[in-house]
């Protein structure tokens, strides 16, 4: 029985190969790429379980098992940064995901093509800036003598030390993420919006549906596939909150809310060459990310009827 089935499997593979060999041949170069540049270096992660000495053998000197993971979970700071990562990731998702959709819908309602294109083009700009520049802009703008506090001053409010206050850090970070990426994120949605069938709008208008109802019942379902894909991908990169930006804008006062796994890892591990420890934390993050994306995809397929794959 088993052998029969195996034979059947073999036969169907042979059929597939004969039928689709040209298609498979197109996958050779990409698969070579993945094998050489993605999977081969992954072998290096073995140092999460081996003691690696900088400048020593590439795959470490000796097995230490779960030593580094053990250090990790017994470090009281680690759970703090783990929680911070989750919260910051969740907030980024909660506000960062709808922002480009809303912006795209608003842009879609603009009649003047010139105005629309202007706002559109301008809103992409921050995407092109390096994180270093964005961080510099934030530090400048959010300082006690910066533009935000000047505006607060006109409103009669005492200055707020935004980047010094654990209570403000998350808001500052999430806002900057939206500022930086919402505009560019609209590209996908604006493209999707143009594919929504205009006949549906006409039909809805004949039925007397308001703009709001049209948006709710036609536009949003029309761009739903795009939303699902973007959402799943965002969930998958949940843990990878902006390392470089946080590193540049946080400080010991905002560690209680701003310190995330990657920045903590950087301070504790990388700077001093503890590559094994870094690899251990990296694996930990990867497993969580992979789990999240699989869960999100399964959910999307079961409940929304569509997924990433």
């Amino acid at each position: 029985m088993g052998r029969q089935r195996r034979a059947g499997v073999r036969r169907s593979w042979r059929v597939a190969a004969r039928r689709d060999w040209r298609l498979y041949s197109l996958a050779i170069a990409p698969l070579l790429f993945f094998a050489v540049f993605r999977y081969l270096p992954m072998v290096g992660n073995v140092i999460a379980f081996r003691q690696y000495l900088p400048g020593g053998p590439l795959f470490g000197d000796q097995w230490v098992g779960f030593y580094y993971f053990d250090q990790l979970i017994h470090d009281p700071n680690f759970w703090q940064v783990f929680e911070n990562t989750l919260i910051l990731g969740a907030l980024s998702l909660l506000f960062g995901f709808p922002a480009p959709i809303i912006l795209a819908l608003l842009l879609n309602e603009v009649i003047s093509r010139g105005a629309k294109r202007f706002v559109q083009s301008v809103s992409y700009l921050p995407h092109f800036l390096s994180t270093v520049v964005v961080a510099a802009i934030m530090m400048q703008g959010l300082a006690t003598n910066g533009i935000v506090n000047q505006a607060l001053g006109w409103a009669g409010h005492a200055p707020i030390t935004f980047l010094n206050d654990p209570g403000w850090f998350r808001s500052a970070y999430v806002s900057s993420e939206i500022w930086q990426y919402a505009g560019f994120g609209t590209i996908l949605y604006l493209a999707a919006l143009t594919t929504v069938d205009s006949q549906l709008y006409e039909a809805a208008r004949i039925d007397g549906a308001s703009r709001w109802r049209q948006t709710w019942h036609i536009t949003l379902p029309g761009i739903r596939p795009t939303m699902i894909v973007v959402l799943i991908l965002n969930i998958g990169t949940f843990m990878a909150v902006g390392f470089e930006k946080i590193l540049l804008i946080y400080n010991p006062l905002t560690y209680p809310t701003g310190d995330v796994i990657s920045t903590y890892l950087y301070r504790v591990g990388i700077v001093s060459g503890s590559f094994s420890y870094a690899a251990a934390i990296g694996l930990f993050e990867s497993v969580i990310g992979l789990t999240l994306v699989f869960a999100a995809n399964t959910f999307a397929r079961r409940v929304l009827g569509a997924g990433l794959w």
């Binding site: 003691q51 000495l53 900088p54 400048g55 020593g56 250090q71 470090d75 009281p76 700071n77 510099a136 530090m139 400048q140 300082a143 006690t144 003598n145 910066g146 030390t161 980047l163 010094n164 400080n251 010991p252 006062l253 560690y255 209680p256 310190d259 903590y264 301070r267 504790v268 591990g269 700077v271 001093s272 060459g273 503890s274 590559f275 094994s276 420890y277």
Partner: protein, 551 residues
């Protein structure tokens, strides 16, 4: 206490002749240069000898490119160096901003250049166990100038701090004849005059100065500080903690990440929980409560601190000799900056020997282990010895060539840059930059290193006064060597860095009154639950082990 190691040094460093003898005989097997490594080197190289390779040599080197004077293959520096020493470089050019990342990749990836400069003491530790870096202490007998300076300036004890658990050291640090305190506080001289405040010499004096400023300008914060990277209050807490006999700010990590040598108890203690540390934090908190310190003082970006200073919202700021010149240029007319004498604290006029120690102030040189198999190994060490450690080499790297970039001589005090050559506040009107145009005074070859006379030659008069004032200061005791084994090192690094996060964060909370000082004891027990006492005992263990084995 460390006599034997010092004796060993002196044995090797007894002047040029002894070193030569050693180099020629190569009798000690562990410290002999490999056979065939003599090619290109000099037979009679000693102190005062001009190094010149017997044949043209090229060495690979990690070349930091500083954005203020980006690397230029056509710098006259290289041309003259070739003329003088017959040596040229094959550089791996690395941008300043990420120098250490690239060094790590090069060393770990097996592609390290032979010469790796700009490595600060402590940064070499991570590479020791991997074997990619040369234990250079085995070969310093080939470096007469280095040994001469170590002996003459009595630096053996400092150098011992860099020894690893096998008794060897892997870094050739920059050597200073005397501790050079560059950083202090600076303030507006015109405000001092206007309010007739005397120049303070102590920390309480600084406090009353700022109280007077606050009184005259109630809407200002007299101190709004900068230099908060990579540690908050980097300079301010460093010089203040030194005055209290503990470590904070830039000085916290050096040399051993918060394990502070307490000479009175002859043991390492954890800096962040010392009573002296509490006293220091209490003092800063008091000034903060008096409204003397900007809440953003220890976390803001340097540019913002400078904006507050130049717009009259603050008056006091951390500074160094070069900084005062730059700040002055940013101030409106009629306002002048002056660097304050280093304030003394409870310890009196005592300088800490950690961050501002004589081998810790500048970057040093690591050598790749691969260099050992080069036929030019000896020549390379002689070359490094000449360029980095001989009087002539240091003078050349710093000031260039007599008649081209400078006139007179440093030795008799007649030194002057050529009128058209400018460097850091000297000849501000000059059109040719000593570093960017010529490639001299380049951090790769010449940093905080050399004799006091050579260093003094670079100062404008105001800074010379400051340095004269420093002459009356004493030095805190040196920490003894306490080298960790590889396993101890890796675990201590992780614990130490995690503890540092807590200390930095809580220090600011205490200072800014976000956590009451009444919770100090609780904070100390938090540190211990994070492993502070175990961390310190690792160092004490290493200290006694080393003492048994080597001293």
């Amino acid at each position: 206490m460390h006599q034997p190691s010092r004796r060993r040094f002196l044995a090797g460093a007894g002047g040029g002749a002894a070193a030569l003898a050693l180099a020629a005989c190569s009798n000690a097997p562990s410290s002999s240069a490999p056979a065939g490594s003599q090619s290109g080197g000099m037979k009679n190289f000693g102190v005062g000898t001009q190094f010149k390779a017997a044949e043209p040599l090229t060495f690979t080197i990690a070349m930091l490119s500083n954005p203020a004077y980006p690397y230029n293959a056509n710098w006259p520096f290289f041309k003259y160096l070739k003329q003088i020493t017959n040596v040229s470089f094959n550089p791996t050019v690395i941008p300043f901003a990420d120098y250490n990342t690239k060094i790590a990749a090069l060393v770990n990836g097996g592609q390290a250049p032979m010469i790796i400069p700009k490595v600060y003491p402590g940064e070499e530790d991570q590479y020791v166990a991997g074997g990619a870096i040369l234990p250079v202490s085995d070969y310093v007998h080939l470096m007469p100038n280095f040994q001469d300076k170590v002996a003459k300036w009595n630096l053996a004890g400092d150098l011992d701090q860099r020894r690893q658990s096998n008794g060897k050291y892997y870094l050739l640090p920059s050597l200073l004849q005397s501790v050079w305190q560059d950083y202090s506080l600076a303030t507006r001289a015109d405000i001092l005059d206007k309010l007739s405040i005397p120049t303070p010499g102590t920390w309480t004096g600084v406090q009353s100065m700022m109280l007077a400023m606050k009184h005259a300008y109630p809407h200002s914060y007299p101190l709004s500080d900068r230099f908060n990277q990579p540690t908050p209050g980097g300079n301010f807490l460093n010089i203040l903690s030194a005055a209290y006999g503990t470590a904070a700010g830039w000085g916290y990590q050096v040399p051993s990440n918060g394990a502070y040598w307490d000479a009175s108890s002859s043991a390492f203690v954890f800096a962040g929980s010392m009573p002296q540390y509490k006293a220091m934090v209490t003092f800063v908190n008091e000034m903060y409560n008096q409204g003397l310190i900007d809440p953003e003082s220890f976390t803001q970006a340097d540019t913002i601190a400078l904006q507050k200073l130049t717009s009259g919202k603050s008056f006091v700021i951390s500074d160094n000799a070069q900084g005062v010149v730059t700040d002055q240029a940013a101030l409106p007319a009629g306002q002048t900056m002056v660097k304050l004498p280093l304030p003394a604290g409870p310890l009196g006029k005592t300088l800490a020997q950690n961050a501002s120690g004589r081998i810790n102030s500048g970057g040093g040189v690591m050598i790749s282990s691969k260099a050992l198999s080069s036929p030019n190994f000896t020549a390379m060490l002689q070359f490094i010895d000449w360029l980095y450690y001989s009087d002539a080499g240091q003078l050349f790297a710093k000031w260039g060539v007599q008649g081209v970039t400078y006139t007179g001589s440093v030795a008799d005090g007649t030194f002057k840059l050529e009128p058209d050559v400018t460097w850091a506040g000297l000849n501000p009107a000059g059109t040719k930059k000593l570093n960017a145009t010529y490639g001299f005074s380049n951090g790769v070859f010449s940093t905080y290193t050399g004799s006091t006379q050579l260093l003094d030659s670079q100062f404008p008069p105001a800074e010379l006064d400051f340095q004269k004032g420093m002459a009356s200061w004493g030095l805190s005791p040196l920490a003894p060597p306490a080298p960790l084994t590889t396993t101890q090192q890796q675990s201590a690094t992780l614990t130490g860095n995690a503890l540092m996060s807590t200390v930095q964060s809580q220090t600011l909370q205490f200072i800014l009154g976000k956590r009451p000082l009444s919770q100090w004891d609780q904070y100390v027990s938090e540190l211990n639950s994070q492993g502070a006492s175990k961390f310190v005992s690792t160092y004490n263990q290493a200290y006694s082990t080393y003492k048994q084995q080597h001293g």
